[in-house]
Symmetry: C2
Subunit: 669 residues, 2 copies
Amino acid sequence: MPIMSSTAKPSPETTDRNPRDMANAIRALAMDAVQRAKSGHPGMPMGMADVATVLFQKFINIDPSRPDWPDRDRFVLSAGHGSMLLYALHHLVGYADMDIEQLKNFRQLGSRTAGHPEYGHALGIETTTGPLGQGLSTAVGMALAERMMHARFGGDLVDHYTYTIVGDGCLMEGISHEAIDLAGTLKLSKLVVLWDDNGISIDGKVDIATATDQVARFKAAGWNTWAVDGHDADAVEAAIAEARKSDKPAFIACKTIIGYGAPNRGGTAKAHGEALGDEEIALAREQLVWKSEPFELPEAVVKGWREVGIRGREARETWEKRLASSAERERFQSAVATTLPSGLAGELASFRQALSADAPKVATRKASEMALEVINRVTDMTIGGSADLTGSNNTLTKGMQSITPDDFSGRYIHYGVREHGMAAAMNGLALHGGFVPYGGTFLVFADYARGAIRLSALMGLRVVYVLTHDSIGLGEDGPTHQPIEHLAMLRATPNLLVFRPADAIETAECWEIALTERHRPSVLALTRQGLPTVRAGDVGENRSARGGYVLKEADGPRDVTIMATGSEVEIALAAAKSLAESGKQAAVLSMPCLDLFEEQDEAYRKSVLGTAPRIAIEAAARLGWDRWIGENGRFIGMTGFGASAPAPQLYEKFGITPQAVVDAALEIA
Amino acid sequence: MPIMSSTAKPSPETTDRNPRDMANAIRALAMDAVQRAKSGHPGMPMGMADVATVLFQKFINIDPSRPDWPDRDRFVLSAGHGSMLLYALHHLVGYADMDIEQLKNFRQLGSRTAGHPEYGHALGIETTTGPLGQGLSTAVGMALAERMMHARFGGDLVDHYTYTIVGDGCLMEGISHEAIDLAGTLKLSKLVVLWDDNGISIDGKVDIATATDQVARFKAAGWNTWAVDGHDADAVEAAIAEARKSDKPAFIACKTIIGYGAPNRGGTAKAHGEALGDEEIALAREQLVWKSEPFELPEAVVKGWREVGIRGREARETWEKRLASSAERERFQSAVATTLPSGLAGELASFRQALSADAPKVATRKASEMALEVINRVTDMTIGGSADLTGSNNTLTKGMQSITPDDFSGRYIHYGVREHGMAAAMNGLALHGGFVPYGGTFLVFADYARGAIRLSALMGLRVVYVLTHDSIGLGEDGPTHQPIEHLAMLRATPNLLVFRPADAIETAECWEIALTERHRPSVLALTRQGLPTVRAGDVGENRSARGGYVLKEADGPRDVTIMATGSEVEIALAAAKSLAESGKQAAVLSMPCLDLFEEQDEAYRKSVLGTAPRIAIEAAARLGWDRWIGENGRFIGMTGFGASAPAPQLYEKFGITPQAVVDAALEIA
């Protein structure tokens, strides 16, 4: 067992700034709220109460009366199951919406105190956490955003820390490696990670599953490190003070006892994820010398906690004076609001006109780069990057400088071969404010980033995933690189827009929608192979915004309706032409975004879909298409994994050809 | 630039065992095959040719004439884009199916030489690689399997190494952290990892994206480490020799020049992923003093390479003598074949009978444990585990001992909070032979394991994913823990069976199918909450094997057909009862596996689905259900993310109730 330090020992009286009592207030609220809910995780809040108290009492700059003050410190509870730590802190420092009733309703329907911290559910929750490792990795994005805003606006306006508390689980997850390697490489010196080193995981002692020396691991990744007794307030304070001066990201291992204060369950896995029970809570009250009833707090303790906010308010007011007198004020405020310039729509409209005139045959990944050339010229809020596939994802536009540890004024991030870390960092960039991040990898490797993509959607963040090489059309790299189920997987995800544009014009349209959607992330599924322009001459309206539309109406009443996305629209058009030669009239629908199509009113959808038999073409899994083709429709696509060969041969091999469409049409029409 | 060592310098004559010439044979085959395909990755094979030559010439125990010899060393090319290294090696050592025509047809349709190594496409390919980090993590599973088989059968029968070549990308991916931490914890001393430390990634020099000291990192994870010049054959040989004696897993950093031999592109990102071009190849031939024409090899070099197989054959023959005289022979052979005991079906049938009599109300995660109690009693090939959720996943049955670094005779693996690493390790266990691995986590964290789950499916491995807490029914943990899109994501994956049983009887049935399916992985989506037995009295046949069936026929002609899976079958039954009271006759279908239902003949499917209007109920995304409900059907399920509250309130909140089904039925029936 770790040493129990002096500051954590019971003291006979309660004074307003006694850190032990302040910490015990957290412990009491956590164990009582979990007990009342009969569900939750008391162990972590009780174990980390001392560390959190030091962090909040001595260091953190937040103002509960202005939770969105841009230069506040960011605090991320990466070990999100310990949500009662956060809710207790928010109650104690005085966030207006975190009254005691919220704590009494922990984990209940409609309360702000969800099982895990949910961004947007209560003031001051900086990000959603719970899936382990995400908080840490998102915090890396926030700390990166701080450095980038600092580079743009200077230390008078931007100069804050990002603190995060992580658990053993966060550090076992693979995403933690991606995050700490990225943070170490970029020397994110204002990031301070506090590790709840309690030696316990759900299955028992943590050493049954990990032998990693975490301090050595973080050192190897380019961090400065400290190791302290997490119940020794002075030691914690000294470490945080040094960490704040670090020239690298800082890792503080805090040796703690899980469920600190619970005499029987403390220090064991039993403290982690269930209510302690009335008896054990009574014993803990005795051991902690905590005499208040559940959900009651000594006035002096509350007073001590409220000083956190008083300090924060003063800091905020001083900062506001600096802002008021800053020449950068307007530009800064517009950046913080992350409102894209109004001129963007016009520029993109002109760009579509030019494309219509040129009718280029380009891969949509290249078309995406062309659209980005326009977008990145109009705004500097867009931040590009790729998981080491820059030349393939076409995410780097002219003149974009890379972010380096010595210069954060650039706009392009080399995320390394780290799809998950990239996605989480983009979430952090978006949450911080000031930026619209986009990042590239191959569509198939959305698999690797799934955990963080889901959080983009759950939080409603404007993050754009540029996912190229979107089908068997990538050719020779073979089945491991050819997405099949990925469009279905992404379309099934709530609040995520999945675009698969058919040509350069639709690609520009989809980019415009992705940037305009402030509260939904977007996926752009883009081809490796070249595609002809199919929308030339029809660029007045952003037709992709309706999700699906009639690209080519039948010549007379429809015999059949052929719908397709992306690279398969070309096939649909060829099939329609062929069918016309056999006297069958086919309409061709382009469906760049099924999610948006679904949101259209029924009358529009019916007018597009028509009443003729329908065929859908997509070089991917069928799942999800039956909704649009109906019970007697046909689907031309993939039924298994792909293969390694040049793309045209694969389309032949898997029967995704105009002839296959014609054959199907002649059977049903 | 790293030092060019003496062994890599041109020598005037070609002798049969000159390692430089042997390595140059790999280089020539790689650059010529990529050039011919006009697609591929020459840099890695050329850079690692010296290391691979030492490994194969001096150490590796394989017999190309018996590629499946159970005690062979396993070689995994984790940096799968360097597939030409593997194909060249296989050609040179004399695998019968890797003739020169295969190399000439690199990346062409129907060839065995796919863009990335595909398990099953050619003899001796131990696993599919390409998605970075997977090979390393799968190799950890193989090395673990070796230790476990060794513990069961002794060193006379099982005593081999697992070698893997990894690249910078493998080591940047998060999964690598999970894998190396697991290997270090379990002290997998017969695992040797060779890192192609070439300092180059696709975006340029690797230090733009990573500052990690890899040697220090592996040390921190409990490995022994070496760092050598990868072009110095003697140094590489010495390091491997020591690594083989290591008491921990071994990491050898091999400093190399990517595209070694190519005078202009060598050492640059340009060497990585495209053909060198005729001119550069001619210059490389000069620099390497390689005079043979493309796809031709000096006889002496071939002779040198064939000695690898001769050594391997001798080792195999010696081993076979040991096997022949071993008392364990039959048991060993049966284990290697991984054929489950014939008695299993009978035991499970009796178990279903007992369940039918008891009609327990249990969560299906508990029912899964009950089935596992039967299964794990009948066979010891099943290997359990969980990503630190043992008590929640119910994956540990009575008497199962945990694997520890000191004792590999157990059957249960504490994978730690590492879903991705667990899935990849299970792939390795299944590939190695001898085991049927199953592993648990929450269904929502299938996200974290997606990359490796996809490889289970692509390779057709019998791996069982026990994914509990399968809907909003998990309650208070809230939206981050509540799967919505996950069933769709998994169902869309080819060659993966997704089961969602409705009660204890179906759970036992689904387990039986999962174990019987030798070439498909399975997902069992299981509830946290208790469910009544809905199949009591009807257990003669494994009805889940048809994927969907009529659980309760309507009393007379159907007015409506209600289909559901898992926990929603109970709701369907309640709705049907309610409807009967209003004079509407409803049939209830249980659909535990839509994948298998789809595979049934049309007559069966039609007989089950009937012609009445249909309603589907599933507390998840709609995507995929329209196929079964038809254009006028209804879906009762989730349209967005979940919430944090007790489960019954969530079902009410999201309208997944018998009343909602009744209302829908009355509208359409």
